[in-house]
Symmetry: C2
Subunit: 189 residues, 2 copies
Amino acid sequence: MKLLEDRIRRDGVVLPGEILKVDSFVNHQIDVPFMNELAGEFYRLFANEKINKILTIEASGIGIACLTALRFNCPVVFAKKSKSSNIGDDLYRTEVYSYTHGNVNNVVVSKKFLNAGDKVLVLDDFLATGNALVGLIDLCDQAGAEVLGCGTVIEKAHQGGRERISRRCRVESLAVIERMDESGIVFAE
Amino acid sequence: MKLLEDRIRRDGVVLPGEILKVDSFVNHQIDVPFMNELAGEFYRLFANEKINKILTIEASGIGIACLTALRFNCPVVFAKKSKSSNIGDDLYRTEVYSYTHGNVNNVVVSKKFLNAGDKVLVLDDFLATGNALVGLIDLCDQAGAEVLGCGTVIEKAHQGGRERISRRCRVESLAVIERMDESGIVFAE
C-alpha cells in the first residue's frame, strides 16, 4: 500500500536490531484518520469473508482493530497479556514470546468471547517472527473458532512469520519490508 | 445516556468490592458499533472545543479514544504503563495506583507526542477514584498542554474522582452510577 510505504519512509525510524519505530502514527501516537485509511484497505481485502469478530492483542493492535471493526460492523476482542484480577478464571491461555521486550507473556482471552462458529479476522500492528499471531490463532483453535485471515500493518520479511502463519490462513500485510538499516528501508515489490 | 444505561443494566455484572464488569462490550470484547455511538456523544459534548489530540491510557481506553478521534479528525496518544524497551528516554512520567489491580503503574508518554499548545481531550473507560485521569492530566501539565476536558464512559460516583478532576477541567461521563450491588444498579438522575 503506497500510502503506508510513503508514511513509513517519512516517519519510520530504524534502530539497531532491525527495530522499526513507527510510534508517531501506529503504536504510541495513533494517527487515527490515517489508520482509518488502512482499516478501509483491510476491509477491501477481507470484505468477501463472513467475518463476525476481530481478534487482536493489547495494546498496539486495539486501534487498528477497532477502526477495521467499524467497517465490518462487528466486535473486537483483545487478548490480554496477563491475568487481570477481575477477568475471571474461564480463560483460554497461550504464551507469546515478545522479541521487542525480551519476555514471555501469558496471553489470555475469556471463553465467553471466542466461540465455535466465530469467523475471525486476526489483526496486529506488526508481523515479524509471527509469535503473537501464532498465539492468537492458538486461542481461536482452543475455542473452535475459524480463522479466516490474518492482517498486519507492517511485515518484516525474512523473520519467518509469514511462513508460519500462511500454513494456516491467508496473510495480508499492508506494507512488507524486505530489508532496512539506518540508511533506508526497502519494501517488497 | 439512556442507550448506555440500558446496556449496563442488561450486560453489566456487579462483583463484590463495587466492581462493575462490562467486559462484554467495553474492555475485553469491544462492541465497536455500540461504542461508536458513545464516541458520537463525546463528539457532541466537546465539539465546540478546539480539540487537536485525545489522550488515553492503555489498554482499555484505546478503543473509545480511536473511535472518538475519528469524529474529531485528530490523533490519539495512549500513555503506556511501563517503560517499553524501545520507547526511548525522552518521557514524561507519572505514577498511577490501580484500584482494580492493586498495584502502582509507572505511566509514561513520549515528549514528542504531547506539546505546549496541544488542546487535549482526556478519555478513559472508567472514572472511580480518578487516579488514572489525574495521572494523564499531570502528563499534560508537564508538557504544557491544555486539558479542555475529561470524558469517561462510566463513572462510579462517591469514589471521589469527579471532585478531583472537576477542579481542573470539565468532566463528562456517559453513565453515572449512584450505587450498585448484586441486586441492581442505580444511575444518577
